[in-house]
């Protein structure tokens, strides 16, 4: 992460270096966006819809996405389901265990803001963005597989616009 974000700074001093830097940026972004491996993690009903999207009818594999059962190998986390206060520290820990760059899609009403459990609940966290940064919010209860794929396409668009200088999690907007 450290070296790659300094490439543009060094390259700009060399004649024609900017072309190298932007091409490198593009290649890296394409390779990132086309192989987002997601974490096999779901806490409630939304996870069923996530599994369905991963299965053959909707076929996530054609986006280069398939699940990894370990956070160390995952780039993307779908927060698929209700996050309770008891679960919250575990979610945070899984997120922190993922290698950078890491992305989060908050899937379903529960993960966006507590959803159906917003009122009169002693146990449900009111939005996963209170504990980890979220890239794409996906409403629905549960969202259809088509919407989940739309969210992934949105995330791919976002990744394609990343700059080399911003290749570190603290600079990500």
């Amino acid at each position: 992460m450290g070296i790659i974000s300094r490439v543009p700074v060094i390259a700009e001093k060399i004649p024609g270096g900017a072309i190298v830097a932007t091409s490198l940026e593009k290649v890296l972004n394409i390779s990132r966006a086309s192989s987002m491996w997601y974490l096999l993690f779901g806490t409630a009903c939304c996870a069923i819809e996530m599994m369905c999207t991963g299965a053959s009818r909707y076929d996530f594999d054609r986006f280069g996405m398939f699940f990894r059962a370990s956070p160390r190998q995952a780039d993307l986390m779908f927060v698929a389901g209700t996050i309770t206060y008891k679960m919250a520290p575990r979610v945070k820990r899984l997120y922190e265990q993922m290698a950078e760059p890491r992305y989060v899609i908050a899937m379903g009403g529960c993960a966006c803001n507590g959803g159906p459990f917003y009122y009169d609940s002693y146990a449900v966290l009111k939005g996963v963005d209170l504990i980890i940064p979220v890239d794409v919010y996906l409403p629905g209860c549960p969202p259809r597989p088509e919407s989940l794929m739309e969210a992934c396409i949105k995330l791919q668009e976002k990744i394609m616009h990343e700059k080399l200088q911003e290749w570190s999690s603290d600079k990500r907007g």
Partner: protein, 159 residues
């Protein structure tokens, strides 16, 4: 299989004035019992040869605002009859004897009610933090007037 009338007759004979039948629906035999006799009551229905009720499906707590109702759902695998047992305890600082000494399966149900309603089960082997978050210190959350940890009350709709 003992029918509803027989079950209630047996129970009332054994514990006169501490057990009374309550009407729920024709398929469900239900009795209200004195909280002091729970352990003896469950011992009796478990060991009586015509009842043999040892399968505890669930224990519920209900906050009735004046008191807390503890409701036991028990049935007999052998005779296929079932019984609902209701009893009342105080709303704050309520105490009742454990039945986990008679029926082992009651252990977790009682622990859950202790945690969510604050009812103490006297003689329970392990009344410790169970389902709530590890750092929970805001009291039993299932009481109707509980507020705490980012609790948002449902607004009146149309009012």
């Amino acid at each position: 299989m003992a029918d509803s009338g027989t079950i209630i007759r047996l129970l009332v004979e054994k514990f006169p004035s501490q057990v009374e039948a309550i009407e729920l629906n024709p398929k469900q035999t239900a009795v209200q019992i004195d909280p002091k006799i729970v352990a003896a009551f469950f011992e009796f229905i478990k060991t009586h040869p015509d009842l043999k009720m040892a399968y505890l499906s669930s224990i519920s707590g209900v906050d009735m605002t004046t008191n807390i109702d503890i409701v036991y759902f028990i049935s007999s695998i052998e005779y296929k009859h079932k019984l609902t047992v209701r009893t009342k305890v105080d709303r704050l600082g309520g105490k009742i004897d454990t039945i986990s000494t008679v029926i082992k399966g009651a252990d977790w149900f009682e622990r859950e009610i202790w945690e969510l309603f604050g009812v103490e089960f006297v003689g329970h082997p392990n009344l410790t933090q169970f389902l709530l978050p590890d750092d929970w210190d805001e009291g039993p959350p299932m009481l109707r007037d509980w507020t705490g940890r980012n609790f948002v009350k449902m607004p009146e709709i149309g009012g």
